[in-house]
Structures are given as structure tokens and as C-alpha cells.
């Protein structure tokens, strides 16, 4: 009951702080989809989530690292109750369930996912190589749409390991959806998806 209010306050706060500007390449309707973005801060998924129009936001769920977000009551509350995150275990040696299966199940249940295929927050510039999860997910869910989202400046708002966010302007650029093509290999596909994301970055980033 309280959760929508908490979600609203958090998104309202981040939008006020960052004056978040949202730029769309094309208009999207709800569907089987993954929004994937560059990852530099914990505010990333909140910014993408709050940038979505209500109809798209209602079905969007962030994919988050279980070992990080299950630690601590507040984190658990936020990710499970407020943002209805899909928790996946990153550590191959210790995990009990297959992350691809978990994400695919969420998509089959009618959700859209927010995913950061770099796998970890990138403290530097540019985009790290993608983990293969995006490919396996696309291969498993036929007709899955992948929408690149470039987040600009959020790494300066909430740098890794810092507590106080800085008020700086941020922009979320949504690109055109792409999908896994017939006979496309894993490396080829991941490079293409990463290229589509980088193409949204303004020059010099």
C-alpha cells in the first residue's frame, strides 16, 4: 500500500535532482521488451523506470544483483516491494538458479525488463564489454525487443561508493528497438547491441 508512494517519492526526487530529460527515437507501446543501458550508478534503473510513460512503466521491472540487494532490510524492501525487481545471482559458483531462466520467466509473465549488460557499475567512461546474458535471453524469448537507453551524466550524480547525490542534469536517450537476427552469433549480436547503445552517446563520451 505504501510502496507506490515510496516509488513515486524516489522517482520524483531523482527527477527533481537531475531535471531528467528524456529523448525518444520512436514511440513505444507495451510489449515483450528489455531496456538495456550503460551502468554507472544505483540511480540508473530508477532513472530509466521514471523516464518511462505510465503504460510502459507499469510492466517494467529492473534486473538486479541478488547478492547486493538481498543484503539489508532497506535494500530488500526497495528492490522487492517498491520496484518489484527481478533478482538474479551473478556468482556462477554459488548460484542455485539460472539467471536466464529467471529473466525469461519474468518476460513470459508479461513484464519488460531493465537490464545493465555490462554486469557491474562502470566507474570510467564509455561502455564495458557486454556479458552474454542479453544474447541468451534474446535467443530464449522469440521476438524479444531490445531497446538501448543511454544515460548521460548519472555517474557524476551518484558516483560509485558515495552517499550524497549531486544535483546535475541528466539525460536518458531511448534508441530504436533491435532484435536477435536469424543465424546471428553470440559475439556478433553482443557487439551490435553494444554499438547501438554507444551510438546514442553524444560525441566525446
Amino acid at each position: 500500500m505504501l510502496e507506490p508512494l515510496v516509488a513515486r517519492s524516489l522517482t520524483g526526487f531523482i527527477r527533481l535532482l537531475t531535471g531528467s530529460r528524456v529523448l525518444w527515437r520512436e514511440k513505444l507501446v507495451p510489449g515483450r521488451r528489455v531496456y538495456y543501458g550503460n551502468h554507472s550508478s544505483h540511480g540508473d534503473f530508477v532513472l530509466i523506470w521514471s523516464a518511462l510513460p505510465p503504460a510502459l512503466r507499469a510492466q517494467a521491472r529492473p534486473v538486479a544483483a541478488a547478492e547486493y540487494w538481498r543484503r539489508g532490510t532497506l535494500r530488500r524492501y526497495l528492490i522487492q516491494r517498491v520496484f518489484k525487481g527481478v533478482l538474479v545471482e551473478r556468482d556462477v559458483a554459488q548460484r542455485t538458479e539460472d539467471p536466464i531462466a529467471t529473466m525469461a520467466a519474468a518476460i513470459e509473465a508479461g513484464n519488460a525488463l531493465i537490464l545493465f549488460p555490462e554486469g557491474t557499475r562502470n566507474p570510467g567512461e564509455g561502455v564495458l564489454p557486454f556479458k552474454s546474458g542479453l544474447y541468451h535471453l534474446a535467443a530464449r524469448c522469440a521476438g524479444l525487443e531490445l531497446v538501448p537507453v543511454w544515460l548521460e551524466n548519472l555517474n557524476r550524480v551518484m558516483p560509485k561508493g558515495r552517499l550524497i547525490p549531486l544535483p546535475l542534469l541528466c539525460t536518458a536517450r531511448f534508441g530504436a528497438p533491435l532484435g536477435l537476427e536469424e543465424g546471428e552469433g553470440k559475439q556478433q549480436f553482443l557487439e551490435r547491441a553494444r554499438g547501438a547503445l554507444l551510438a546514442l552517446a553524444p560525441e566525446g563520451a
Binding site: G19, R21, P123, N153, R156, P159, R162, I164, L166, P167, L168, L169
Partner: protein
Amino acid sequence: MSHMSSHAQAVLLFLGIGAVLLVATVVGRVLAYRAPPGKRATIDNLNARINAWWGMAALVGVAFVFGKPGVPVLFFLVSLLALREFITLLPTRGGDYWALVAAFYLVLPIQYVLVGIAWYGMFAIFIPVYAFLLLPVLAASGGDTTGFLERAAKVQWGLMISVFCISHVPALLTLDIPGYEHRQLLLIAFLVIVVQSSDVLQYVWGKLCGRRLIAPVLSPSKTWEGFVGGVASASLLGGLLWWITPFSFFGALGMALVINLMGFLGGLVMSAIKRDRGIKDWGHMIEGHGGVLDRLDSVCFAAPVFFHLTRYFWA
């Protein structure tokens, strides 16, 4: 008119602004109606600007209704938005984190508290002295020496322009001018009207008869014709507003001239920074105008000079 109460003068002033905006709105709509399809972009931008002017005039009006607490609060928020635009467009590094935290969460509010309690001796030096010395220390503690001087200069410049300079607008409320008690709000109105009408008149003169570029490297739109026509007519307007100021007609004319020249030069400096960064506008907050800093670049340069001249010669 100078014998009217300050309240009546303020009401008259806002009615005047409303009338000017009303005329501008009607002219803008007629132009849009008659414009050939290929020429729409300029007219649409003009109408977007006029619409934003209504909003900005209303905002200043509301602040004036709240009087002494309202105006500093309004300009505190303006400074916050301006500093946000400035720092966003001038990239800093991870090592600047604590300097930026201090700039946004300490220096900015403290400057406005100092202005609010009218502590002239402190608000006039707080940023040029104390922030100037403290922030590079915080930046150095970040342990990153890459481009250090440039980064420290960016943060200091951002504070000087967006906080120090802009805070001199509400600081006008702190001036004790003999025979002008409780009317300092009108001094703010004078400054804002003169600066903004100068911007508008330079734009209008430039569009009507602008030929020769005054600073082609810095600005593709500023012309000699716009500069001379705009500054002259806005200064005359300032002179004609002498009845809301403590100045005589010629005093007000001279003050308006100084304000307009400083504003014009400020616009050039700020556009040099924008050119260097390869951008056209500081932000996107005000439809048709760009960012807060695009609208206030001339106020930034005019306000401190206007404040000190008034203080030296009249207070």
C-alpha cells in the same frame, strides 16, 4: 509619479509589463498567422519566448508579493538551477566530489543566508575568499592531479557566476538608501526590467536591421545594429523608469547604460564558454530561451556592478 507609494508603483510597473507582454503576444500570434510556411521557425521561437516571458514575469510577481523573504528564496533557487547547468556542462572528475558537495550544499545556501541577514562584510567576500581557498583544498584531498587547476577554476567560476553574481540581485534589498526606505524591491525591478528589455531590444533591433556581426567568433547573432539600438533604447527605458529608483532621470539613464553594457559583455563571455564546449544553450528548462543561464547571463555580469555603484553613490 515618484510621490506614489512603493506599493502603487509596483502595481503600476507590473501592469505595464503585462501590457507590453499582451502587445507582444498579439503581435506574435498575428505574425504566426501570416507567416509563410518556410519562415515559421523564427516566429515559433519568438512565440515560445513570449510565452516563457509570461511565466517568468508571473514568478517574479509572486516573489514580490512575498516581499523580503520571497525574493531571496526565488534567487536561491535560480542560483541552484544555474549552478547545476554550469557544472553539468563543464565536466569535473571523481576527485572533485567533495568540492562539489560543498559548493552545492554549503557555499550556495550560506551565501543566501548571509544575503538574507544583510551581512554585507561577509557576503561580499565569502565566495571570492573563503570558498576560493576551501574548495581547491577539498579537490586536492581527492588525490587526482589531472587537470587540477582547470577543474578548481571551473568550480570557482561556476560559484562566482551562478551564486555570487546572481545573489547580488536580492542583495539590493539590504541597501539603506536615505529617502528610499522599504522600496528596495523596486530597485530589483529596475535592474531586471532594464537587463531583460536590453536583451529583448537587442534581439528585435538585430532581427529588424542587423547587418554587421559584432563578434563573429563568439556569437553568430549579435550585430552592431542590434547592440547600438538595443542598448540605446533599453537605457532610455531605464531613464524613463527613474521614478521607481532613488536616481534622477540622468542618474537612471547612466545606471541603465552601465547595466546594459555589462549585460552585453556578460553575454559575450558566456557564449565564449558555450562555444568552447561546442553547445548552443546551457540547458533546456525554459522553452524558446534554453537554460536558466541563457536567460540570466547578462544579469550575472550586471548585478554586482549595479549593486556596488548604487551602494557607493547612493547608500
